[in-house]
């Protein structure tokens, strides 16, 4: 059923054009890479009793599996964006530290 193929669009002020996500071809499952249980639980000796059920071979079942793929793509994309944002912030902070040390906190542009 082609009408049940999910699609997601992401736009943000700093992006020139919207990013479109589609599940694409391939094998889709409900066992997403980015929706696993936390390592903290596993490292503490826990087991994963909450795995999702497998997708059924029905239009809704296929939609579930494809949505999981889509969710993985979005999660990876957004995590990457957050990382970039964080890097930008720390670069900015480093520049601030350098400026404070070299200029003793005095911004020449603001001095008048």
């Amino acid at each position: 059923m082609s009408s049940l193929i999910p699609k997601a669009t992401y736009s943000a002020p700093d992006l020139d054009e919207s990013k479109i996500f589609t599940p694409g071809d391939g094998i889709h499952t409900t066992d997403g890479q980015t929706t696993q249980i936390s390592d903290i639980v596993i490292n503490a000796g826990g087991e994963d009793r909450d795995k999702p059920t497998e997708a059924k071979d029905t239009p809704l079942g296929h939609l579930r599996a494809e949505l999981t793929t889509l969710q993985d793509q979005i999660n990876i994309f957004l995590t990457e964006r957050m990382k970039q944002e964080k890097n930008k912030q720390s670069e900015q902070e480093e520049a601030d530290i350098e400026r404070r040390i070299l200029d003793d906190g005095v911004d020449e542009d603001d001095s008048d």
Partner: protein, 373 residues
Amino acid sequence: MTVDLDQYVKPGKGHYIALGLEGSANKLGVGVIKHNIGPLSQTNRAEVLSNIRDTYVTPPGEGFLPRDTARHHRNWVVRIIKKALIEANIKGTDIDCICFTQGPGMGAPLQSVVIAARTLAQLWNNIPLVGVNHCIGHIEMGREITGADNPVVLYVSGGNTQVIAYSKQRYRIFGETLDIAIGNCLDRFARTLKIPNEPAPGYNIEQMAKKGKHLINLPYTVKGMDMSMSGILGYIDQLANDMFGKQPKKVIDEVSGEPITPEDLCFSLQEILFSMLVEITERALAHVNSNQVLIVGGVGSNERLQEMMKLMIQDRKNGQIYATDERFCIDNGIMIAHAGLLSYRTGQTNLINDTVCTQRFRTDEVFIKWRDD
């Protein structure tokens, strides 16, 4: 004048059926309730058609993280709903309204459950949605199950500690915790002692406390009608770390000269915390001139708390204590269905764009349209 609860009944129907979804913390609950038309009374009680719960359990020493709890709810919600419908012997289209916990609670778990509610409402021909305050769910279900008419409510759970009384269509908060909830205090101490989280950390503390013999000195922090527990937790955690940490230190009971055990610590923590609860509840009873206490919330299933409350209430004229068992005390879907259905019967429903969950949602924000006493 009594409130007309049947203005919105479907033509030709003599009853209402509501589905309730709860997931504000680590329990995922789904319940189906039936109300016959007419006011609820001793002869016209709400009927529990099903009440299924699944709890997200973590290894000893670990709390439940929002992300993994939400994942638990997401991955179980469809299975649990199916089970609840089968047990209630109804179809989705028999339902008058879908009720969900709108808050207070943990953001991510609340979100997972509301998505299920919205999806089902749309799948089943736009069934009305009703957002329910979790605390109101506990109170209304407690009243319905026990038959308590107008009690002072002690609401004690992992996320909430409040003393509540009804006045002029609001459940008003007379006293509450100033920092952490009582269940949170007990659960976190269970983590310090590495007590298992199954079936529940509080239950395991209760069992250990039964074997405790020595009462150790802990801070007692009632402040007016409110109480504070983080300092007590900090104190007893430090004591436990000293006793069972890397360099264990023996602590001796001053009276008997016997060593203090983990059981003694559990016993002492319970005794002190529960005494504080009894004190503020008794004061609230005096304020509102009531003689009924209803205990709700997960910690309300603690038998020692019930016993201590009973000792206090017995000294009051015609004093009565009401409590429910774990099916209704511990978070469940049926209470959400029940309180949501009362809302629905007075015409209060949520449009889909008004179903956003909120982590902060105080008990006294809700207008209790179904009561006018």
